[in-house]
């Protein structure tokens, strides 16, 4: 029985077109994009072509695209490159660890940090951001779509509020990119990070949009690559791959792929909700098409993840902790779930290549696994 992969928010397989696009730059066109000679020029041309694609993806100028190693680097650069001692940073309690830990580090370096809690449905209230603003607020960082619940944040409204306050606005768009309409001008942000491997590109490459005039200190220093904004020999095959991946997801936004995935997600969700004692986390908020986060009362989520894995279905629970086990999700707890409920929640995130057969296979396996686990659960719930 082939495996069913429902963990697209963790990572996605390389699209064959992406592999074809990057392959020459791993082999014959191996040049260093900083070199003067023909090999270097070929590489540079490929990088700049990809930059052009990314500029149309972000809706920005080519000079505003910095290639880097992925989402974590983009988030770290945006926060640590902008925050100074004494500045105030506003972010939310549901951000990815790449933002949360960077915010904590900014705090340790003398910045003030406010973590805004979401509403129970996982949406950040723009008015809460407004209330958190101070004269010293230098940066507001809010994600586009939450990796665990798929909830799409009202970044446009937040962008307006931040602009009125004269602060900078960063969007961690790692999970939203390629899944919803995308335009940094409309979002009103100064910085926006994306990652290739969440959209069928390779791991280890991403891009950061930096609006012209944003005074960003580079995280990596060294050579004068990427207009001195990111030192380090450019990852030419990776950058080419990111360009191709961005091109493909731009097509997906208009060719019906999103609607098809949404219908499959809705089928999956409706099927699982037929099991008693289940509920969707973030149900009444706008969500990206491929994600559903479901709470199974009286079930140890970690055991359900393992049971489904052994039956051939890949899903995920909370966030992976240092040892590889799972901790109750900080996102769900910020939405007001207790540890027990957070631990009983699983994320299903579909690939754009998902099929009805995949979904039906999941719908066949989940109910029996849940029933089995509930039978074994202690009568008194351990707290």
């Amino acid at each position: 029985m082939p495996r069913v992969y429902c963990d697209a928010n963790a990572t996605t397989p390389l699209a064959p077109e992406v592999l074809d696009a990057m392959r020459p730059f791993l082999l014959e066109e191996f040049g260093n994009a900083s070199s003067i000679h023909r090999e270097g020029q070929q590489a540079r041309r490929a990088v700049e072509r990809a930059r052009e694609t990314l500029a149309s993806f972000f809706h920005c100028r080519e000079a505003e695209v910095i290639f880097n190693s992925g989402g974590t680097e983009g988030d770290n650069t945006a926060i640590l490159g902008l925050m100074r001692a004494g500045d105030h940073l506003i972010t939310t309690a549901i951000e990815h660890e790449a933002v949360l830990r960077a915010a904590e580090r900014a705090g340790a370096r003398g910045a003030e940090v406010t973590f805004v809690a979401p509403r129970a449905n996982g949406l950040v209230d723009p008015e809460e951001i407004r209330r958190a603003l101070r004269p010293a607020t230098r940066l507001v960082s809010v994600m586009l779509a939450n990796n665990e619940t798929g909830v799409v944040q009202p970044v446009e409204e937040i962008g307006k509020i931040v602009a009125e306050a004269g602060a900078y606005f960063h969007i961690d768009a790692v999970q939203g990119a390629g899944k919803i309409e995308f335009d940094v001008r409309r979002f009103g942000c100064h910085l926006c990070s994306i990652s290739a491997h969440k959209m069928h590109g390779p791991k280890g490459v991403g891009a950061l949009y930096v609006r012209r005039g944003t005074p960003l200190d580079p995280l990596m220093v060294g050579g004068s690559h990427e207009r001195r904004q990111r030192a380090g020999t450019q990852n030419v095959p990776g950058i080419v791959a990111l360009g191709k991946a961005a091109e493909l997801v731009m097509t997906n936004l208009v060719d019906g792929t999103i609607e098809r995935v949404a219908a499959l997600r809705d089928r999956l969700e409706a099927g699982i909700l037929r099991i008693a004692g289940t509920a969707v986390n973030g149900a009444d908020a706008p969500r990206v098409a491929n994600t559903t986060n479901i709470r199974f009362e009286q079930v140890e989520g970690e055991a359900l993840v393992i049971a489904l894995d052994l039956k051939g279905v890949a899903v995920s629970g909370g966030s992976a902790c240092h040892s590889g086990s799972t901790e109750p999700s900080h996102v769900l707890m910020a939405m007001g779930l207790d540890k027990q409920a957070a631990r009983a929640s699983l994320r299903f995130s579909l690939l754009r290549t998902a099929t009805k057969e995949d979904v039906d296979r999941v719908l066949q396996l989940v109910p029996e696994a849940v029933e089995h686990l509930r039978k074994l659960a202690p009568t008194t719930v351990a707290g």
Binding site: A303, A307, E327, A382
Partner: protein, 371 residues
């Protein structure tokens, strides 16, 4: 052996559990490796002299999880880390702290076996489709059809005998547990590890309490209470002799264990030992070695393995701590869920908080916690 369903092996990243997994895989069992993540070794780092960077080779350390995962990869078995930190803290760490603060000397390993390894782990295993678990404990369990009971017996390697920590296992747990190392000696286990090509065949055994770095429990108590925002309760008091003469003062009853000689803070012509710790008055009674001997003990929260229930006096050998040669005694039921053991020869340093495990030859009859 019957391999109809999968077996979940509790893998700690040590030689014993790794070899257990290797043996079962090579016997043809369908094996799933599970590691319980019980304690974050970095949690108390930097508090009260606990090193910032924990040493390697301790249960739940990243290095051990890494080793367990590598073994599972080598054996080609599915492997998962299961987070049970909260349950461990609630059922093992907090009772451990509370016991010391009330002047007793706890054994966290037995609590961990009772609540985590053979309860939670078994439940997780069954949840994922493994009806039985296997561990690297040195013990033997077998079903005795005549009595209709599962029996727990001392292992082939007497020096590695871990039955003392397993007295709390229920019939259901014993029925669902395999101890593949029970009939092997430690050198044989290491030889098997080498034979199966396990890189960690020469890894040293761990001895200390897994969550107490460096074995300094006092440091752990202070660091844990500080982290919890709790203050160390005031338990300073008097050091007295058996006749009641005050011979000194102490800083807190948690510093003492029955039989302890060092660190009493008083000088005496002949060696002095802790005889008794009184929780209410905070008084610690000290005296000569000979005064440590006791003839009886009261055991509580009993669990019976070889018998259904103790209804009449029974001749057994009693082990009162891990490194204790079992001593002949008679046990008799006493009230609800308690029994009294009367030793043939007085025993040295019967310590409240430890367990008393009753043996009949090689069999574990049952056991309880020393009151």
């Amino acid at each position: 052996m019957n391999f109809d369903t999968s077996i979940a092996v509790a893998m700690s990243g040590g030689v014993d559990s790794s070899t257990t997994a290797a043996i079962l895989v090579h016997e043809g069992a369908r094996v799933v490796g599970l590691t319980l993540q019980l304690w974050d070794q970095t949690r108390l780092a930097g508090r009260h002299g606990i090193p910032e960077a924990p040493k390697a080779g301790r249960c739940c350390s990243l290095d051990d999880v890494y080793d367990a995962r590598r073994v599972a990869e080598q054996l080609g078995i599915p492997y998962y880390v299961v987070n049970q930190e909260e349950r461990f803290e609630r059922d093992v760490v907090r009772p451990f702290v509370a016991e010391y603060l009330s002047g007793r000397t706890p054994i966290p390993c037995s609590l961990c076996n009772n609540f985590l390894k053979f309860d939670q782990l078994l439940r997780t295993a069954r949840g994922i489709g493994a009806e039985r678990i296997a561990t690297g404990h040195y013990a033997i369990n077998e079903f005795d059809a005549r009595r209709g009971r599962w029996i727990l017996k001392r292992p082939a390697d007497r020096a590695k005998d871990q039955t003392y920590f397993l007295f709390g296992l229920t019939q259901e747990q014993l029925a669902r547990t395999l101890f593949p190392l029970g009939r092997m000696t430690k050198p044989e286990v290491r030889a098997a590890a080498r034979r199966h090509g396990l890189r960690l065949a020469e890894k040293p055994d761990s001895q200390e309490i897994c969550f107490v770095p460096g074995g300094d429990y006092k440091q752990f108590l202070s660091a844990y209470l500080e982290e919890q925002g709790e203050t160390m309760p005031e338990t300073a008091g008097e050091l007295v002799t058996a006749s009641g003469a005050v011979i000194g003062q102490h800083d807190g009853i948690f510093n003492f264990t029955v039989g302890q000689r060092k660190g009493l803070g008083v000088s005496s012509p002949s060696p002095l030992y802790v005889l008794k710790i009184d929780r209410a008055s905070h008084r610690v009674t000290v005296g000569a070695d000979a005064e440590l001997a006791t003839r009886t003990l009261l055991a509580r929260q009993l669990n019976w393995i070889a018998i259904e229930k103790l209804t009449a006096p029974m001749r057994v050998e009693v082990k009162i701590r891990h490194r204790h040669e079992p001593a002949r005694a008679t046990i008799e039921p006493e009230g609800a869920d308690e029994c009294v053991a009367t030793f043939d020869e007085p025993q040295r340093a019967v310590t409240p908080g430890q367990s008393a495990v009753f043996y009949d030859g090689d069999e574990v009859v049952g056991g309880g916690w020393i009151a």
